[in-house]
Symmetry: C2
Subunit: 190 residues, 2 copies
Amino acid sequence: MAIRERRERERQERERLIVGAARELAEAEGWDAVTTRRLAEQIEYSQPVLYSHFKGKDAIMAAVAVEGFAELAAELRTARTSAAGPQAALAAAAGAYAHFAETRPVLYEAMFTNAVDLTFASPETPAALQEGFGELREALRPLAGDDDLDVRTEVLWAGLHGLMTLTRGGRLRPEGHQRRLARLLQGFNA
Amino acid sequence: MAIRERRERERQERERLIVGAARELAEAEGWDAVTTRRLAEQIEYSQPVLYSHFKGKDAIMAAVAVEGFAELAAELRTARTSAAGPQAALAAAAGAYAHFAETRPVLYEAMFTNAVDLTFASPETPAALQEGFGELREALRPLAGDDDLDVRTEVLWAGLHGLMTLTRGGRLRPEGHQRRLARLLQGFNA
DNA sequence: CTCCCATATCTAGCAGCGCTAGCAAAAGGA
DNA sequence: TCCTTTTGCTAGCGCTGCTAGATATGGGAG
């Protein structure tokens, strides 16, 4: 019976290989370059193998996105907990969010632009997503006024997300990034 | 020589037909359904005709997006100028922005998610875009503090954009929309 | 009125896409 | 050693954006 276990291990390893190849290819040449044929060639298997692991290409991208959510949450946590004082913690978390979106644009794209069917309600997926949201909330909690903390968190998140996507789309002046970030936080420190 | 003019007129009319067909098809079945073949069939011409008007499918989508920017700017202006008082004007403009994104999601998608090569610097395109930005700025001007008006406008825009895209992606609780909008504006009224 | 040429438009096809049916090969169990 | 199940492959379908080359159309000159 140990044979089944070995097979299952090899299978999971290959799944990791697929997700890793998709991420590498996307980060190197953009998501348009991630085709099932190139992916298959990269992992040295034929195309149909991909479909024995994932329902389709979207599911592979979603798997990459989930990786991204986990990393984002981890980096938010590190930034928040290693800052001195509530204001600094909030600034650090916001800065970490911006840094993540800037340095991993392709990952960010998979997380927020492409992965449409990666919602809150699903059983497994959104653990990392909600964890990231939770980090922002904890950064805001010490500064919370009398209004609902969740609402504040959502608005902060939206502000950060909007800044990053508009900047990336060339809609905002690139040089004003720090000032915008500071102005956004100004609305939450009070 | 009037023949050339008539031909040019017919040509522009057909171009309008293409853009209109693309928009209708997108609004009816989503952007994935907008293929060059279906577009050609809709306007009752063959596929290559499309390429005598636009460089490619992206350019057609960009033309639809430009239409969207013009409409958004007009609606922002109406909302802003028909409100009584600065606070109400800002709230009206923000509400109009949200209403636009909610009721014309496909158009909004073309404007902000797809049209990548629709930047600020181009000569013709962004007139409508900057006009919309200008409307938000004018809504903020009466409430401006001592910090830069452009920065405030960019942050407000980012907040609105972030709220709408996150909501549409199923990342925010749908029922909290009004509270989030109010909380966002709270950061600009003060 | 006829012919010519330029313009306008179409037919047909290329390379690539996501995805899958059906066959071949490998490997575990009797 | 043979059988059966699992595993992976080859080949192909219908679609995509886009284009080369052939064909039809229609205004201007003789």
